[in-house]
Amino acid sequence: MYISLNWIKDFVPLKKGIDPRTLGELITVHTAEVEGYTDLADRFKHIVVGKIESIASHPNADKLTVTQTKVGSKTHQIVCGADNIYEGMYAPVALPGAQVKWHGEGDLVELKPAKLRGVKSEGMLCAGEEIGLENKEDRIYDLKGLDVKPGMPLADVFKKNDIVFEIDNKSLTHRPDLWGHYGMAREIAAITDNTLNKLKPDVHIPTKGESPAIEVKDYTLCPRYCGLIINNITVEESPQWLQDRLLAVGYRPISNIVDITNYVMAELGQPLHAFDKNFIKEGIVVRRAKKKEKITTLDGQKRELDDTMLVIADHKKPVAIAGVMGGENSEINDETTSIIIESANFNPESIRTTSTKLGLRTEAVQRFEKSLDPILAETALQRTAELILQVCPDANIAGPMTDKKKLSLEEIIIPLNTEKVSSKIGAPITQKECIDILTSLEFTVKKVSDKRLEVKVPSFRATKDIDIEDDLVEEIVRIYGYDKVKATLPDLPITPPMANVERSRKHYARSLLSYGFGLSEIYTYSFYGKQELDNCLMNDDHHLQLENYLSHDQTHLRTTLVPNLLKNIAENLRFYPSVRVYEVGRTYKENGNYFPNEEKWIAGAVALSPDDEKKAFLEIKSIATTFMERFSRYPVTVKKTKTVPPYAHPSRIGGLFVHGKELGRIFEVHPQVLAHWNIEGPVAFFELNFTQLAGIEEPLLQYEPLPKFPGLEIDVSVVIDAKKTVADVAKEIQKADKKLIKTISLFDIYEGEHIEKGKKALAYRILLQADDRTLTDEEMASIQQKIFKNLKGIGGVIRGA
């Protein structure tokens, strides 16, 4: 919203020459955010009145003339291409440095001295549109008849000496009273310690005569409707001062009557509407629209209504969508001589709903939806009548105002504890300061005791805005000044806060995965779509779906982190030969209850180039198990699992177990899924339920004494059926001596031409060690023989033995 400083000055005796930046900041820190301000005179910098002294033909161009134009004490040579100039003419001259728009089109450019077809030109004679004046003709603006002198700044000629502030509408959401200059002036008076000049419309409304016939059928949606007939008006262009004001705050002047209704809205915040009385059959009816009833609004759009919407109608047809926009069928036109002015109060929620349904947001909607003061309707009508009579001297008011209303105008009185005010603000604000501030904002304050007040809320603040004590605290502190509230730290006990173990461990998990295992953390969206589900061979079971979504890859809430990670890997493989990433995020699963299961998971992946076929699984296995063991401090086992998600390779998958509990899985991605994502190399994942993993209480580690006696190492190489697993073989070895065999490490696997088909050779290094003695050669030989025997027992052939 735009606020004109000149307009404000109608109501507040501000000091002359108040710095607009300072005033803007005051408004920002006390009332509402000022986004910026414009000095209207800036647009006219270096543009002055010139008097054309002589005109000569241009030596090199027959369409151009060379003028000598007096601008103040100097005379400039200016080349001109227009044909309406004459000697002795007063016209706007843009001097070098001025901002002009060539032929009224395109961007503003800075004017520079130039040579036109070889003749020097020190400025430009301007058409109105070239310098932002309302003058549509492409001819030099003739200043004839105006009180001008050569060299006079054009800003002074056209009174473009206003400052216009732009206020952030969002910061006025709860302040219907600030949607006009008068309300803003009240604030500015309070924050600059001035007295507001109260607005009292000076108009005589006759007690007898013709009043508009008005029938309100739905007082819930229209608590008040005031109407007044004015006859004998002449519709014409508004006087310049009125146009200037409207232009300054962003309204396009249309005609005097429409301009005045806009003027009063910009001044008081009350939207008004003027109907041509001739088009209103029998009288005004305020009613709900009929289903599918149609109206063409002032913007030329035909709109279909429904029965929740309120219309203003006559006895035949709707003439306006109440509080939203007027209809074409009753619009003021050049022949209009009698008008009915509407000044009403509508239900804010209804206005908002109607506006949303129709996709039509207007200045009126913006105000009505904030809950306007119903008393304002009458004041605004009087002010409108006053201005119409001032602008159309022949006009007359036909008779008394019709005022239909059903209002519950209960006064809001709030008890205020001024000690509480200080406590909540954290500054020593006296009761007197509270009283002074509230009074300056037109609250009525009654002192009850040294710490108690009774505060009556003025009507313009009483519509949803202020109804509790804290609302008054806000009024007091913002006028008192937030800058005067000193930053202090609360005096509270130093007990440590309750720990959020899962949170802190999440950061630990990230450090391990990123800085220990070299994976990079990425964040992906919480949703995916049909395509991602299909690609992963998933269906939409257990998925929550969005009612409203923005794109087709954001329709379902994820039940696993895998699809989005895969999509991401496919994208990153364009730039990197291998990708190692993980994500810590939530999954959301429908469970039949209202709230879904929200779980925290960690998923990580290794994607390698095609020639590293088996390496991906093994790498992810060592990452996942080492990570989990370090994280939980318990051993992790990889075992067959029954939970095989559709995107996993059905035989290259293992469950991750701690204490016999399955916390997640490692797997290679199903080859078909990889094909769907156009990924050529192997991708292996781990998926871990982080909530469960983080829930394992870390054991307090106990020191184990260092070995006192040396150990012995023996190597065993066995050829065995390829179906036997490495784990099976190790188990047989261990059986030979559960106590003395300390470690069994596989150091070679061989399958190929040098051994029988269907067999593989495994080589182990085995450490034997006793806690209480040095082992003898006999003990070693005996264990070795047992190992050989056990391996033979499962069909193994010992090599080199």
């Binding site: 955010e33 969002k170 709860h174 937030y482 930053a487 990230r510 809430l557 810590v584």
Partner: protein
Amino acid sequence: MKEQLLALQKACLDAIKKADSSNALQEIEVKYLGRKGELTAILRGVKDLPDAQKPIVGKLSNEVKTVLEEALENKSKELEKEELNKQLQDDTFDITIPGPDRSLGHVHPLSQVQHQVEKIFNSMGFMIMDGPEVESEYYNFEGLNIPAWHPARDMQDTFFIKGKHDKKHGRMVLRTHTSPVQVRTMEKYGAPLRVIVPGRTFRYEATDASHDTTFYQVEGFMIDKNISIAHLKGVLAQFLSSLFGKEVTVRIRPGYFPFVEPGLEVDFSCLICGGKGCRVCKYTGWVEFMGAGMIHENVLKAGGIDPKKWQGWAFGFGLTRLVMMRHGIDDIRLLLGGDLRFINQF
């Protein structure tokens, strides 16, 4: 004889001193101390001397021998050292050859900054809370004093979940802010409270360089007997100064959020220009940072806390925005885009 020996010693020492290589030194050794060397010759001649002179010359000769041997030894070490030095100096090892790959992974910048924020508030006694991302209309709106007619309730801002409805909770939404955790925490723990809630939030909003459907917020609130706006100013100044590692001042001005009263906007002094005004702060000296205010009595009531006994403030700021501001990131979509060319910079 004595003179001859001393002259020989001097000549030999001079030669050693002048020697500039091991070879030269070798020759000197041969010349004087070798089997046919000059000193050896003298020593051999001792037996032919008169008896009276034998012990004297013999002793002197041995002394000379020791002196010369020592001198040769020292010079030899010296020359060896020089030669090693020269050899090392002439080495052509190329230190610009890259080392073997030991690159680490990267932690997402949002995680890094979130961790930092959590640590600062934790150290000031705030506990860190979590809440559901799929939330009910009740907790996301009504409980926060945002009635049905409020603009924030429009379809244009909120993602709704299909087919979910509950009498108390209303429809189901993706939380549009971290504020629902306020009421949830109050219900669970009661007063007093010192809490922050960092988390993922969602808006149904067309995506561009500064808008995304998904972003991160940090909610903070404090409830006790006498908690005031002055404390909000104090705590936030502490937090921001810790976060940015320099003194930061906080400006408060009026703002409107339905769940607080008074409602506040909080700005901090521009870190680039220190408040003098620059392009970053749009020449105001202040950077808009968060919404805040004293918790509305209706919100306290919704959380089961008696507003007559307890009071407090709440604030919320965009963690995503903070990360973008800190690292000069000009496109919000990079944060959830997962492009490693971006992530690997952190």
